[in-house]
């Protein structure tokens, strides 16, 4: 497959008319060399990206049990809703009389999310979960600053997403890592020892990345609060909890949700997502500006909060994702609990069918996902299994995460998969397990059916080629 820059120069003049324009700018600020991007005709551009799309895999093609990412089906109607002219062509600085629809949608979305999580207020501004975390830690710092306290540490279990410690460190908090106990909970004994007046917040993912609901959540919250410490919930795994339990009722002071996970906005090949941050009322004054408010039946943007930490991005958030999530919530409405019930059922069904073929990291009922270890098949077995799954037409699970499970395979089926799909997946994994015993070389050579074979990541880092250069034209690959 060519890269776009390797196409021969073609005629390409059709998208905009040519007009006689005279640019009168001083010579020291204008481009001196011709713009170094190619002219390719529309037909070849369309073929190029259509062919690229055929070298890709998405939920629309098949089962995508990538743990911690909630790769559920993305309803098409939500795409149509977001593309409606009134949403997609609206300038963000339009006066409020032109934006009542958007503001109403955002305001109502906040109301729904407050109800679903048990929090008192929300900001829809953060662009993704990691930015929500950043905002959450900034809010925690502002909270303690206003109380005249200097707290410098964050408690994070070793099963946490890497973003939690990365975020704490950007905000100059020192991370205290707490190990997991034999049931996959945060070790409550170690927690008690390490909880000190210097701890600003506890960042807990619940259910955690092992797919397990922390059995001590209430006690952890209680101890934190007694210590003046804030409880932050990484809500990446909210798909297990809709209508079943509310983090706000378990003592969490803040939670972020990933709308692209739980609320089915498409993952886009890596984004855009939307992270939204919910807080209890005593933290609401720190939320970013502007906030969306409703007075009588009019919606407006409120910049008044004096204690706000400021802004984490331009405008109001990934609005197009808000539209999709709002539409998704309306499709389920009062029956949204069914989403989580089936996510949990599907995960437990798969776990039970697979736990004898592989090792279960923690032998407990799981929530919406679970972690297997393939350690009995030796080193690199998780990688080899992942690659071989591609030959059976499945996207692999998340592998080597969480870091505390050797040869980890983290499997999240979601509620939108049929029993038949789950059964086929189990068959494939069992087949691969027997291949590993009988013909390990096949598994080690996998994948055999993808557009390219196993790729050399070491070479990519050792001899970096991160962009096309015009000089590559002479030495181009077929």
């Amino acid at each position: 497959m060519k890269i776009i820059f390797e196409h021969e120069e073609e005629n390409n003049t059709g998208h905009l008319q040519e007009e006689d324009v005279c640019i009168e700018l001083p010579s020291d600020i204008v481009r001196k060399e011709p713009l170094p991007i190619p002219n390719v005709n529309e037909v070849d551009v369309v073929r190029h990206y259509t062919n690229l799309s055929r070298m890709n895999f998405g939920v629309d093609i098949g089962f995508y049990p990538l743990g911690s990412c909630t790769m559920k089906y993305n309803p098409k109607v939500n795409e149509d809703a977001a593309r409606a002219e009134g949403f997609s062509n609206l300038h963000p600085l339009s006066p409020e009389e032109c934006t009542q629809g958007s503001l109403k949608l955002m305001w109502e979305l906040k109301e729904y999310l407050k109800d679903i999580t048990g929090m008192d207020d929300f900001s829809l501004q953060p662009s993704a979960g990691a930015q929500s975390e950043l905002l959450g830690v900034m809010i925690a710092k502002a909270h303690f600053r206003s109380k005249g306290e200097k707290r410098t540490k964050a408690i994070i279990p070793d099963s946490a997403h890497g973003t939690n410690p990365a975020t704490a460190s950007i905000c100059k908090l020192e991370t205290i890592t707490i190990p997991s106990d034999s049931r996959g909970n945060m070790d409550i004994g170690r927690y008690k020892e390490l909880l000190s007046p210097e701890v600003a917040l506890v960042m807990l993912t619940n259910p955690n990345t092992l797919g397990l609901f922390d059995e001590n959540t209430t006690e952890i919250s209680h101890l934190a609060h007694k210590n003046g410490t804030l409880m932050y919930c990484d809500g990446a795994n909210m798909n297990a909890l809709l209508g079943i339990t509310r983090p706000g009722d378990q003592g969490f002071d803040m939670i972020h949700l990933n709308l692209h996970k739980t609320f089915s906005t498409p993952h886009g090949g890596g984004g855009p997502g939307a992270g939204v941050l919910g807080v209890k009322s005593f933290l609401a004054e720190y939320l970013p500006i502007p906030q969306i408010v409703k007075r009588d039946s009019r919606y407006s943007l409120d910049y008044a909060s004096k204690k706000s930490v400021g802004r984490v991005r331009s405008f109001y958030g990934n609005f197009g994702m808000h539209v999709r999530a709002y539409s998704y919530i309306h499709s389920w409405g009062t029956q949204i609990r069914k989403v989580s019930e089936h996510a949990v059922l599907n995960a437990n069904y798969l776990q039970d069918l697979l736990k004898d073929t592989f090792d279960l990291a923690y032998d407990r009922r799981c929530a919406h996902e679970f972690v297997l270890s393939s350690r009995r098949f030796g080193e690199k077995s998780a990688l080899n299994i992942a690659k071989r799954l591609m030959d059976y037409g499945f996207h692999p699970p998340t592998i080597y995460f969480p870091l505390i499970v050797p040869e980890a395979l983290m499997i999240e089926p979601t509620e939108t998969e049929s029993k038949e799909t789950l059964d086929r997946f189990v068959l494939a994994l069992k087949k691969i397990a027997s291949e590993l015993k009988e013909h390990p070389e096949i598994v080690k050579q996998a994948p055999l059916s993808t557009p390219v074979g196993r790729l050399d990541e070491v070479a990519a880092a050792r001899r970096p080629n991160l962009r096309w250069r015009p000089s590559q034209r002479q030495t181009k690959v077929e």
Binding site: F5, E19, D28, I37, V45, V46, Y49, L52, M55, N56, F57, G58, D60, I61, Y64, V77, A84, E85, G86, H91, P92, L93, S94, G101, S102, L105, Y112, A128, M138, H161, P165, T167, C171, K172, T218, D249, H267, G268, G269, G270, G271, P272, G310, R313, F315, I329, S331, T334, Q335, I336, S340, E341, Y349, P447, P451, V452, R454, A459, L466, V477
Partner: protein, 419 residues
């Protein structure tokens, strides 16, 4: 709508295997139960849902747009949305499994290349959230590289970008200052600036470098790069900004497209994902995510940034847009935008407005209006025209693109001239 395929029979069989009698018992086993009732709307069929959503969209009013200020109303070729709607592209996730994600990965490689070619920089990442937080990441990168903690911002930065920068600096315990000295990690300048002014940046770049600081250019209207000198040529070490102009709808402020590009010596400090070219086991060309040891899922608290999910689909939109427009099309976008803005400015000057730009401008400019800017804006609004951003009592920031026809411009002028 109900997106769950399981039938009653399936559910029964699955529950049997798991060994519980009902789904309710299953979730009760490990989760403290919520006993309240959620105050959510009634479930809707697809038909009802679409009606509801379109109803809300209709209460927004989309007018003829003469506003820019960080969000630009450019033409988007039809092929962009058709290609983006391909499920194999938009329903995948981060290409951790490269062999199954060559489409996304190659598109990222092409995106990185386009950004480098336009900016004259050496290396770009796979995208950041949007322009303002991309600029904040540039500041964090500069502090990490130089070991210094002061940021100098030249006057004329988009006010929201400045707010975001200040929020990030507060969180990371850095300082935004008004002087360049031996504590300065980076010098930031937007070009063209918020008011549309195009500056010769060589001098500022030299000033930054002689203080041992990095020079960061912030580009928010990147179609300008089709006719302006690329930042790589005037000494920028980092270029960070917003790519919404490249084929991404206004969409009330997001999702947009943050980008960051640097000179080679800063590669290992780049935040976020980077795609690289490599070969497979048979020697065929392929693409992978590379330099992942910088990232949070490996490096945790020592990562260069906490970013994970980025704006991949928006980067794909920009890549397709740039491929479709090509050299000829993008140059036309820039020339038409420039021409329309200068045409409107000239006509406004004839009816008593005064241009306040201190430097040449591209497609955005500031005028002093006779009377109040607010009254003027509401007069334009009555004619279905979104006339500009009120900067002060009598200052209006106006933007034109190729979407503003000569007729629109005449309508604008006749609305404000009062005839």
């Amino acid at each position: 709508m109900d997106y769950i395929p399981a039938t009653e029979k399936d559910i029964k069989e699955m529950l049997n295997l798991v060994g519980v009698s009902s789904i309710n018992d299953l979730v009760r086993e490990f989760i403290p139960a919520f006993r309240g009732k959620l105050n959510l709307p009634q479930p809707k069929s697809e038909l009802e849902l679409l009606g509801h959503m379109k109803g809300i969209a209709h209460t927004n009013k989309v007018l003829r747009c003469f506003i820019g200020a960080g969000a630009y109303n450019h033409y988007i070729p039809s092929a962009v949305s058709h290609l983006l709607a391909r499920g194999d592209l938009y329903t995948g996730y981060t290409p951790y499994q490269a062999e199954m994600s060559q489409g996304t990965l190659q598109a990222i490689y092409e995106f990185q290349s386009f950004i480098c070619l336009l900016t004259g920089m050496d290396v770009a990442n796979a995208s950041l959230y949007e322009g303002a937080s991309a600029l904040a990441e540039a500041a964090l990168l500069s502090c990490s590289y130089t070991g210094r903690d002061h940021i100098f911002v030249k006057e004329g930065l988009h006010p929201q970008y400045l707010e975001v920068l200040q929020t990030y600096c507060e969180g990371s315990e850095l300082t935004v200052t008004d002087k360049i000295d031996d504590k300065t990690a980076c010098v930031i300048a937007q070009n063209p600036d918020f008011y549309g002014n195009i500056e010769n940046m060589h001098y500022l770049a030299e000033q930054a470098h002689s203080a041992g600081a990095l020079f960061t250019t912030c580009i928010i209207e990147p179609t300008s790069l089709a006719i302006l000198e690329p930042p790589g040529k005037y000494g920028a070490d980092i270029v960070a900004g917003e790519g919404q102009s490249f084929g991404i709808p206004l969409s009330f402020g997001g999702p947009y497209l943050g980008f960051i590009a640097v000179k080679d010596f800063l590669l290992k400090k780049l935040p976020g994902r980077i795609c690289g070219m490599t070969t497979d086991s048979k020697g065929n060309r392929g693409f992978v995510l590379t330099f992942q040891a910088r990232e949070q899922h490996i490096r945790r608290e020592r990562a260069t940034s906490n970013i994970t999910t980025n704006q991949a689909l928006m980067a794909l939109a920009a890549t397709i847009y740039l491929a479709l427009m090509g050299r000829t099309g993008l140059t036309r976008v820039a020339k038409l935008s420039y021409a329309r803005a200068h045409l409107l400015n000239g006509k406004l000057e004839k009816v008593g407005f005064r241009n306040l730009n201190i430097k040449p401008f591209y497609n955005e400019f500031v005028v002093k209006v006779p009377g109040s800017a607010e009254a003027l804006a509401s007069r334009l609004l009555k004619k279905g025209i979104l006339g500009g951003v009120n900067l002060a009592e009598d200052n209006l920031l106006i933007c034109c693109t190729e979407m503003n026809s000569v007729q629109d411009i005449d309508d604008f002028v006749s609305a404000v001239a009062g005839d």
